[in-house]
């Protein structure tokens, strides 16, 4: 029984949150990795792209709520998601047309594009703050839990409860669908293959008649969709705050690099590795250990390795360890 209780506590406080957070990071890292593979630079504006997409979702959700539209037990934000994706696509395509395209024509070096993306980051950041302000915004509605801790206790008779938030369930389902769609697209469709070809060998792609501008456009569209989805899911799960999205840049980059930059499978694996390490290392294990450890060894402290404020440090240390042993990331990077 104690063992079951420990397991439930572990799931409740570590596994479920980490899976949800990992899915959000994975979606974010996929966007970074696609840009890195195809446009060949790390996009510092990615966090703010997520924030922009999520912001549109927040605004549309408010509009729908005001109009009395709801999605039953599911959050209204899911209905707003397609609009948000569209809005974000429009923004990134305009940005590409006005900003990035010029540098492609100039055959600019990737590091110049990185600096350019800093400028875009400032602009998007300012834009989001200008439109919705820098404060916390809540926009989740519908049922809060799929399984609540109390119901779970009543159902199983265990001392520990397992709560699964609706947002967590939705995160995982949406992430799985998005990733499945992406992989099908990249591996099975002619356009998807042409993107991989362009990433692998630009010159040869050109000689094969692949239009680089089209590849780039489709990449931006996919990236905008992924970023918005990640942003909305993160916002539903936690809350929407522009600066938090900017700060997600570090764990997202860490995920993409740990997995091997440019490799989509790596981005997903990296997202979960970073999420699980962050959650496990900053979790206070006392509760789980009191069930498992013999009474004499029962821990006196919280058994928390690091305070939650050091979650960035965790992603960073994991990153360093991986790079020390596998310089190209866990999955060989640099090929979409």
């Amino acid at each position: 029984m104690d063992f079951l209780n420990a397991l439930v506590a572990l799931s409740n406080f570590v596994l479920v949150p980490a899976i949800a957070y990992g899915s959000q990071l994975a979606l974010g890292a996929l966007g970074v990795t696609l840009i890195y593979g195809i446009l060949r630079f790390s996009n510092f504006a990615h966090g703010d792209t997520m924030a922009f997409g999520a912001m549109i979702a927040v605004l549309v959700t408010w509009g729908l709520q005001a109009a009395g539209v709801s999605f039953g037990p599911l959050p209204t934000a899911l209905l707003a998601l397609p609009f948000a994706i569209l809005g974000c696509i429009v923004l990134v395509l305009i940005t590409d047309r006005l900003v990035y395209r010029f540098y492609r024509e100039q055959k600019a070096k990737p590091v110049i594009l990185v600096i350019v993306s800093m400028g875009v980051m400032f602009i998007m950041n300012g834009l989001v703050r200008f439109i919705i302000g820098p404060d916390d915004q809540r926009f989740s509605d519908g049922a809060r839990f799929i399984v609540s801790a109390r119901d779970f206790k009543a159902m199983t008779g265990l001392r520990e409860g397992l709560a699964i938030k609706t947002s967590q369930g939705i995160t995982v389902i949406v992430a799985v669908v998005a990733v499945a769609l992406l992989f099908w697209f990249l591996n099975k469709t002619r356009t998807g293959k042409s993107m991989r070809a362009y990433s692998d060998n630009e010159d040869l792609a050109l000689l094969s008649g692949i239009n680089p501008e089209r590849v780039v456009m489709i990449t931006w569209i996919i990236v905008a969709a992924l970023a918005t989805t990640a942003g909305v899911l993160y916002g539903l799960d936690k809350s929407f705050k522009p600066f938090v999205y900017f700060q997600l840049l570090l764990p997202i980059f860490a995920s993409a690099i740990v997995g091997g930059l440019g490799n989509p499978i790596g981005a997903i694996a990296g997202g979960f590795i970073i999420a699980f390490s962050e959650v496990t290392i900053t979790y206070a294990w006392k509760k789980v250990l009191t069930y498992v450890a013999p009474e004499s060894l029962e821990p006196s402290g919280l058994v928390q390795f690091l305070s939650t404020d050091y979650k960035f440090a965790v992603s960073f240390v994991i990153l360093l360890i991986v790079l020390l042993f596998k310089p190209t990331g866990l999955f060989k990077g640099k090929a979409v």
Partner: protein, 437 residues
């Protein structure tokens, strides 16, 4: 128009902008812009050394600046009574043990034959070391943090003159830069950008959470000033000779005292800036500087000629970060307080990058010019934005939601404008206002 004339003119323009602020707004604002402009210029020189002269991409400027601020607290504030005996030495012991654990693990990684035994030894050392460290560390910091938590609760400083804290800030930043550079530049490929991005966040996290060190988010106030160059307003206002001089300028004693204090800082900052600028210029004209540029322009050839590229990169990375640390220490001295919660990468990392790129990467004077110009705009965009919004919304009915939203949002024009300036300069003048020669 020769290049010198053009560059001088550019400086004159930026100088006039600041003077104009003095005449139209207030001299207080103008000198504030000047002082932070001077500090920004020093940060720019640091980043310019790394990016402009060595192509090193440091996106962790914020961390090094913050370390400089930390150094000010650790060097110049008075020690908290009883903190050392309560737990100070214990903390030092714990930190030394922690460092010893890491060193031991690294040595095992280097010396022992690779294999499962090695892996387990490393993991074992790290786990045992971690728990020993926590066992000593936790009670000691609890003891320190228990001392008068409302005003202290930290270890305090060495009570040395604050000017000593400036080079100390440089040293602290240099130490952190050496550690991170040694790790990130030593990897098979260069991962400096992500490493600096990460270390900056970690430094800020430590400064926010380790209350025993510098009170965390409870902030440290009342950092001593670099007297006698910079005095205290209250004292000046009671000094008869000062009042007499103020009258001669036609100022009331209160205004005169605040201006005098700020100008005192300006004087010190100008000295530091000129010294660092001179050193940076001399370094770049020296054989060392020529070699750095040779490495930048053709690393393969430089390596073939037997230059240790990684070592040189580490050198310049540490130097540039140290300069950022000095600037950070100066900034905390100017503020008179350390507030870890206000360190934001947009302001302290990416804005410095905008300064360097706009001014002209690879040219020290360009970096300085960019710093003054961008800092001026950073301060002035907000009132300009507000004015603009008032103009736009003038025709709207009072109390309309859009009007109040637009006026409230004017403050956020700042980031937007900085991005726009960066993109415009990158596009139309990619080498910056004062390009590298």
């Amino acid at each position: 128009m020769t290049e010198t004339v053009k560059n001088t003119l550019l400086f004159v323009v930026v100088g006039s902008l600041i003077l104009l602020t003095g005449f139209t707004q207030s001299w207080n604002t103008a000198i504030l812009i000047l002082n932070m402009g001077l500090i920004s210029a020093i940060m720019s020189i640091g980043v310019n050394l790394q990016w402009g002269f060595a192509g090193l991409f440091n996106v962790g400027v914020m961390g090094f600046v913050a370390l400089g601020g930390l150094a000010v607290v650790l060097v110049s504030t008075p020690p908290t009574p009883g903190a050392w005996s309560a737990g100070g030495f214990g903390v030092i012991l714990a930190l030394l043990l922690g460092a010893a654990t890491v060193v031991a693990a690294v040595m095992v990684a280097q010396r022992m034959p690779k294999g499962r035994v090695q892996t387990f030894t490393i993991i074992g050392i790290l786990i045992v070391g971690f728990f020993v460290y926590r066992a000593i560390f936790d009670p000691n910091i609890a003891a320190i943090e228990a001392i008068d938590p409302a005003v202290a609760g930290n270890i305090g400083g060495l009570n040395l003159p604050v000017l000593i804290a400036w080079p100390a800030g440089g040293l602290l930043a240099a130490g952190a830069a050496w550690l991170i550079g040694k790790t990130a530049l030593g990897l098979r490929s260069d991962y400096l950008a992500i490493a600096t991005l990460g270390i900056a966040e970690i430094i800020i996290a430590i400064m926010k959470n380790e209350d025993w060190l510098a009170r965390g988010v409870k902030n440290v106030y009342g950092i001593p000033r670099p007297a006698p160059v910079v005095g205290y307003e209250v004292e000046l206002q009671q000094d008869p000779s000062f009042i007499a001089r103020a009258e001669w300028f036609g100022l009331d004693p209160v205004t005169a005292s605040t201006l005098s204090v700020k100008l005192g800082y300006s004087l010190l900052f100008v000295i530091v800036l000129l010294a660092l600028l001179w050193m940076a210029q001399m370094a770049l004209k020296s054989p060392w500087g020529r070699m750095m540029r040779a490495i930048r322009d053709n690393e393969v050839a430089a390596e073939a000629m037997g230059k240790d590229v990684t070592r040189r990169h580490l050198q310049i990375f540490v130097l540039g970060s140290a300069i950022c640390g000095i600037a950070g220490a100066m900034m905390t001295t100017l503020d008179g307080q350390l507030t870890p919660g206000t360190y934001n990468p947009l302001r302290f990392t990416f804005l410095v990058w905008v300064m360097v790129i706009v001014g002209g990467s690879g040219n020290n004077f360009g970096a300085v010019l960019g710093a003054f110009l961008i800092w001026f705009l950073w301060v002035q965009v907000e009132p300009i934005g507000l004015w603009l919004m008032n103009l736009i919304t003038a025709g709207m009915p009072d109390g309309s939601a859009l009007k109040s939203h637009l006026i409230d949002s004017a403050a956020h024009m700042r980031l937007f404008t900085m991005g726009l300036i960066l993109l415009i300069v990158l596009r139309f003048s990619p080498r910056g206002l004062i390009p590298e020669k």
